[in-house]
């Protein structure tokens, strides 16, 4: 039957919202996950025979809550719970019913804070970045431990332990996360945007594994950005984040060569770019800029859009890109932004100016691969080949994966061919 084919897609789509609401209800991540699990099992049994409800998340929340409350009541270990604790979990049966009726029409303001709470819990500052991402993939996206372990190239057993530890820490926080004030909401939103962006980057420039990109992780980050935007539809920076991820991901088929090597922007086959995604992102940036509240994600998306608009790398409007990097550097004065600004300068003001712009960055970016690649490029373009070779070798020692290694080895070989006749 056709219905079962798409059932899992509907369930996966409803998962973050359903789990977020269950977490608010039960104040405990394990209990919320159990409730969701039970609801999903019931959905798999029930939906094929009837139909997929018009609001799958609401159905899962109602069914999961009911199942969990019933289980708690049945469970002897909970028999002695103080009555006020029972009340917290939904109160006596009659009240529960009333409350669950209400849950059918989920208040969008509640849902917004619920999902934000769930996401914020996963990027708690006590957790290391990779633990945050692993936890987000497990809890919000519903990835299996095996999938996450494969993405981070560690044994499933070790990943499971890491996730369990991270979950414990995050869960302790979750119980204390009240409905936020406007200020607190902004802070959470910023943290969550960053987490989604880091997740996207983990897929885009994989720090683990043989392959340079992991499209599945990128797609998941894009889904989370879409979810966040659907809950905060007026947030210009969330639009910027989504546009940025869409634009970067639109190029993924062109970024890896047949041998798994990385292909830089100027050498990519632009017919492989996903035009639909680029169009959607362009609309998103336009919408965001109407608000007149530019921020780092919007500016970075605008830069990516300039690249995507150009028919060839040489056609890109580098003057505009350099201006945008200037604006970005004012918003976000980090060495990495300054590095990218220097690359743009190399296209507008020449390689000597670009090299000069790099000079102050050496202390900060000495162990940052793209710094050495950019420096090698500038030096090679200025004819300082020995220095360029030296910079490429520094880059080679920093390569996190085979794709990038292959790319730089090629560049070194090309440079050596130039040097050979001398």
């Amino acid at each position: 039957m056709a219905l079962t084919h798409t059932l899992e897609a509907h369930l996966a789509n409803a998962r973050p919202r359903a789990l977020a609401a269950l977490l608010r209800r039960f104040r405990d991540l394990d209990v919320a996950e159990d409730a969701l699990q039970e609801a999903m099992l019931r959905a798999l049994k029930k939906w094929p025979a009837t139909r997929i409800p018009s609001d799958p998340a609401a159905w899962l929340i109602r069914t999961g809550s009911n199942a969990m409350i019933d289980r708690i009541r049945r469970d002897r270990r909970f028999a002695e719970l103080a009555s006020d604790e029972i009340a917290l979990m939904g109160g006596p049966r009659d009240h529960t019913e009333v409350e669950l009726e209400r849950a059918e029409v989920i208040d969008s303001a509640d849902m917004r804070d619920d999902v934000l709470r769930l996401m914020f819990m996963c990027c708690h500052p006590d957790l290391g970045v990779h633990d945050q991402l692993a936890l987000a993939l497990k809890v919000i996206a519903g990835f299996s431990v095996e999938q996450i372990a494969a993405a981070f190239v560690i044994k499933p057993k070790a990943m499971e332990q890491r996730i369990t530890r991270a979950k414990k820490k995050a869960s302790a926080v979750a119980g204390r996360l009240e409905t936020p004030t406007a200020f607190e909401r902004t802070r959470r939103l910023e943290a969550v945007c960053l987490m989604i962006y880091l997740l996207f980057n983990e897929g885009y420039a994989s720090s683990h594994g043989k392959s340079h990109i992991n499209p599945e992780i990128c797609s998941e980050a894009i889904r989370l950005a879409r979810l966040l935007l659907s809950l905060f539809p007026a947030q210009a920076e969330v639009m910027g984040l989504l546009a940025l991820c869409l634009l970067q991901h639109a190029r993924h088929r062109a970024r890896i060569g047949a041998g798994g090597e990385l292909i830089t922007l100027d050498a990519q086959d632009r017919t492989l770019w996903d035009r639909e995604a680029i169009a959607e992102a362009t609309v998103m940036i336009e919408k965001a800029l109407r608000k007149g509240r530019p921020g780092p994600y919007q500016i970075q998306a605008a830069i990516a859009a300039v690249h995507c608009r150009a028919a060839t790398a040489a056609d890109a409007d580098w003057a505009e890109i350099e201006l945008l990097y200037g604006a970005l550097e004012r918003e976000m004065p980090t060495p990495v932004v300054a590095l990218n600004h220097a690359v743009a300068i190399s296209m507008t003001k020449g390689h000597a100016a670009a090299l000069a712009a790099l000079a102050p960055l050496e202390d900060d970016l000495g162990s940052y691969l793209p710094y050495h690649v950019a420096r090698a490029d500038f030096l090679a373009a200025l004819g300082r080949k020995e220095e360029a070779l030296h910079a490429f070798r520094a880059a080679l020692s920093l390569c996190p994966n085979k794709g990038q290694e292959a790319h730089i080895t090629q560049r070194i070989a090309a440079l050596q061919r130039c040097l050979a006749p001398d």
């Binding site: 056709a2 798409t6 789509n13 998340a57 889904r223 879409r226």
Partner: protein
């Protein structure tokens, strides 16, 4: 008469289907388009971007406010539409039955007026 088939569904579900499932869905749309084309009865066809890309206009104190997102708070959004030329509502229903029923629901609305017409179909004003 010209009929609109309005396609409603949740954002994000199609994207989660496997390539094979997506192809199966697109094949059904292809079937409808082909069938109507053969009858010279296919008008405009549109697949809309996600509702996140939408803005809404509404009157507010004598002026117009532009807000982000779709107008109605809803779980199901307008995903796209067809305009087809059919002799009767029954015929329009038969045509819509060609579409995939597990990822979207459909609303068939007779069209009062349109500048679009099915390729060689009768003038909708006639």
């Amino acid at each position: 008469m010209l009929y609109a088939i309005l396609i409603y569904g949740a954002d994000g579900v199609f994207d989660r289907l496997s390539e094979k499932q997506q192809e199966a869905i697109l094949a059904k749309h292809g079937k409808l388009q082909e069938t109507m084309k053969k009858r010279n009865a296919l008008g405009a066809v549109a697949r809309l971007m996600e509702s996140n890309t939408a803005v809404s206009l509404r009157p507010h104190g004598g002026s117009v406010v532009v807000t982000d997102g779709p107008f109605a708070e809803s779980k199901e959004h307008l995903l796209g539409f067809y305009l087809i030329e059919c002799a009767t509502m029954d015929e329009a229903i038969e045509a819509a039955r060609l579409l995939p029923m597990d990822t979207a629901s459909y609303e068939i609305r007779p069209v009062h007026w349109s500048n679009q017409q099915a390729s060689d179909g009768p003038d909708p004003h006639a």
